[in-house]
C-alpha cells in the first residue's frame, strides 16, 4: 500500500482492509481473527498475533452463508460467515469466537465446524458480573491462554501480557482523546472519518495503530474546521462497520459526534488495570467494564433506578457531547438490542429529554437509500 499519512492512510486501510491484512501475512506476521469486543486482544498480541476484527460487508450479497445459517438470524454475523465461506478470511492463522450474544456463539461454532484453523478457541462469556462470574471468565481466559500456548509453542508470560496491556491501554487512551475532540461544535472530525480510523486500527499491529492514532490526533487538531453546525447525533445500539451508513446519516443533516457501539466507544472505553494479576485485570475489564446489553445487570429496586443504572452512562454521553438526538441502530434480528428498544426510547425521551430515532436495518448498502427520508425527517424535527 502507498505511503499515505494520518487520516488518508486510515481511509486507505479501511477501504482495503483485506489486502492490508494479506500484506501483513506476506510479511510473515501471524493473523488472528476475533469476534466482537469481548476477546482480550492483549493475549493475542502477547504471542505476536496481529488481531484482526471479523467484520461483515454491507456491499456483498449474502449467498454462501445460506447453506449454513437460517435467514432469520442477525444479518451482521450472517454476512461475516458468508465472507468466510467465500474465502475472504482464509488468511487467518487463528480464530477466536466469543459467546457475546447467541448469534455470535452459534456462528463461531458453525464457522469452526467447517473451517479449521491452527489455533482456535471459543470463549464462553458469563451473563452476569457477580464475583463468581468474573472468576469463571478468568478461568476461561486461563484455558484460552493454555490453548494459545500449546498451539503456538510460545509462553504468555505475565511480563509479555503486562506489556501488551500497556500497549492497548495506550491505544484506548488515544482513541478517547480523539473522541474528546468531537465535543467541539462543529466537530473537527466527522463520524465517517472516525469509523475509518477505528476499523483501520483494528487491522493494524497495535504499535503501528498507536503511531497512526498519534499522527491523526495532530492532524485533526491542526486542520481548519470545515464542517457546518448541524444537529449533533449520538449513535447507540448495534455496530456500524461501513462508512456508507455514517455518510448517509451525515448527509441527511447530522454531525455524528459520539457513539455507544461495538466498533466505537465500547471497544475503547475503559483501560485494563495494571496489577500483579493480569488475567484477573483482563477478566474484570472485559466482562464488567464493557457495557453492552448482552450482559445482565441487577435490576435494582424499581424501574427508574434500574434504568438509571443501566443507561446512566448514555446520559453522560448526551450531556458531555451535547447530543441533540439519539439514533438507536438495530440490525434486524438482534435480540440483545431488540429487547431494549422500548426501555431506551423511554429513557432518552422521558428521563434525559432528547429525541430518539430507532431503525431496524438490514445490514446491506442496497437497502440504505430508503432510510435517508427517515434521517432527514428526524433532523428536520430537531432543528
Amino acid at each position: 500500500m502507498s505511503e499515505k499519512k494520518g487520516l488518508a492512510r486510515a481511509a486507505e486501510i479501511y477501504a482495503k482492509s483485506e489486502q492490508y491484512a494479506r500484506e501483513l501475512k506476506n510479511q510473515g506476521k501471524k493473523i488472528a481473527g476475533y469476534y466482537c469486543c469481548y476477546v482480550p486482544l492483549e493475549m493475542l498480541a502477547a504471542v505476536d498475533y496481529v488481531p484482526v476484527r471479523i467484520l461483515g460487508d454491507m456491499n456483498e450479497n449474502i449467498t454462501s452463508a445460506d447453506t449454513y445459517l437460517p435467514t432469520v438470524m442477525c444479518f451482521f454475523y450472517r454476512s461475516c460467515l458468508d465472507l468466510a465461506m467465500k474465502g475472504k478470511y482464509d488468511y487467518l492463522d487463528a480464530f477466536f469466537g466469543a459467546h457475546s450474544c447467541d448469534g455470535a456463539e452459534r456462528v463461531s461454532y458453525v464457522w469452526r465446524s467447517y473451517l479449521k484453523y491452527a489455533c482456535n478457541f471459543n470463549i464462553d462469556i458469563p451473563h452476569t458480573v457477580h464475583p463468581p462470574a468474573i472468576e469463571y471468565f478468568k478461568n476461561q481466559l486461563e484455558a484460552m491462554k493454555e490453548t494459545i500456548e500449546e498451539k503456538t509453542g510460545q509462553k504468555i508470560s505475565d511480563e509479555r501480557l503486562a506489556a501488551a496491556i500497556t500497549l492497548y491501554n495506550k491505544q484506548r487512551g488515544l482513541v478517547r482523546e480523539l473522541y474528546a475532540l468531537r465535543k467541539a461544535d462543529p466537530p473537527p472530525i466527522s463520524g465517517t472519518e472516525v469509523l475509518q480510523v477505528l476499523v483501520a486500527i483494528m487491522y493494524m499491529p497495535p504499535e503501528e495503530g498507536n503511531a497512526l492514532l498519534a499522527e491523526i490526533l495532530e492532524e485533526v487538531k491542526n486542520r481548519p474546521v470545515t464542517a457546518q453546525k448541524k444537529p449533533r447525533l449520538l449513535i447507540t445500539g448495534c455496530l456500524i462497520d461501513n462508512i456508507s451508513f455514517t455518510k448517509l446519516i451525515e448527509d441527511s443533516g447530522f454531525n455524528v459526534v459520539m457513539d455507544d457501539t461495538a466498533i466505537g466507544s465500547r471497544s475503547f472505553g475503559h483501560d485494563v488495570a495494571v496489577t500483579g494479576d493480569p488475567l484477573g485485570s483482563l477478566a474484570e475489564r472485559y466482562l464488567d467494564k464493557i457495557v453492552c446489553p448482552r450482559t445482565f445487570r441487577e435490576t435494582g429496586k424499581n424501574r427508574a433506578e434500574d434504568l438509571e443504572n443501566r443507561f446512566g452512562y448514555l446520559r453522560k454521553f448526551v450531556e458531555d457531547w451535547k447530543a441533540d438526538g439519539v439514533y438507536l441502530n438495530i440490525i434486524r434480528n438482534c435480540d440483545p438490542h431488540g429487547y431494549e428498544i422500548p426501555e431506551l426510547k423511554y429513557y432518552f425521551e422521558e428521563m434525559v429529554n432528547v429525541p430518539v430515532l430507532a431503525i431496524e436495518q438490514d445490514y446491506s448498502t442496497a437497502s440504505l437509500e430508503p432510510l435517508r427520508t427517515r434521517f432527514q425527517a428526524f433532523a428536520e424535527n430537531i432543528e
Binding site: 449467498t63 454462501s64 445460506d66 437497502s367
Partner: protein
Amino acid sequence: MFYRAGLDIGSSLAKAVILKDDEIMAYGIAPISGNFSRAADQVMQETLEKSGLRLEQLDIIGGTGLGASFIPYRFVKNTEVSCQSRGVHYLLPTARIVIEIGYQASRVIKITENGKVADCVVNDRCAAGSGRILQVISKVLQVPLTELGNMSLKSTNPVRFTTGCSVFAETEAISRIAEGAKVEDIIAGLHQAISLKISGMLEKIKLDGECAITGGGGKDAGLVKMLEKTLQKEMLLPAEPLISGAIGAVLMATEKTQEFEAAAKQEE
C-alpha cells in the same frame, strides 16, 4: 397405442402436452388471461388438434400447477415440484439440479438419477426472484418478452437494484430510466437481481451435477447467460422450457395410476 396428456395450469400460462407411448406428439401453450378453466380447455383442445386425437382417446390425463383444480376433465392431480423433476428428467436425463423460474414463484430442485425429488427450495411467500418482473418490464419498456434476452446481452453496466420486491422493481426501473440509465442495463440489472436470488436459493442445496433451467425464465437468453455467469456454470436448457411441468404431470399420473392398479390387484 398408449396416449397420455399432461396439463400444467400455471399462474400465467397454461401448458399441455400429449405423449404417444413415450414420445411427445404435440404440445400447446396458452395464456391464462384470468380464466383458468377456459385456458385449460383451450390449450387442451389446441394440443388435441395438433395431435389429431380426441379427448376420449386419452388413457391418462395428469394435471398440475396453481390452477390445476380448474381442469375441466377427469385427471390425476400432482404436486408441481415432483412434476418438474420428472419432466426435466425426461427431457434432460443428466440434469441433477433444476432451476425453475415461473411467473410468481421460483424453485430449485435437486433430482435423483431417476427423476425423483432429492431436495428442494421454494420461494413461496415473496415473489422476489420470480419471472413476473420480466413480463411487467417488457410491457413498461415496450420491449417484447422475446427481445429481453438480446437487449440484456448488450449491456455492459447492469443497474444495481436497491429493492428486492418484484413490484417495486418496476417503479425503480422507471425512475432509473428517468435518471438516464440505458434500457439494456435496466434489463440486465433485473436479470442480475433474479440470478442473485436464485443463487441464494441454490446455496441451500449445493450446486453439484448438471443443472437445467426450466419454466418461463428459461426462454430468456439474457437471464440464462446471467445465471451462468453468476453461478459460474453452464446450464442445460430444454428445447421448450415451458412444458417440462406438463410432461411431468403425465409421468406422475401414470405412476400413480399404475400404483393404484397394482394395489387393486393385490386386494383381489
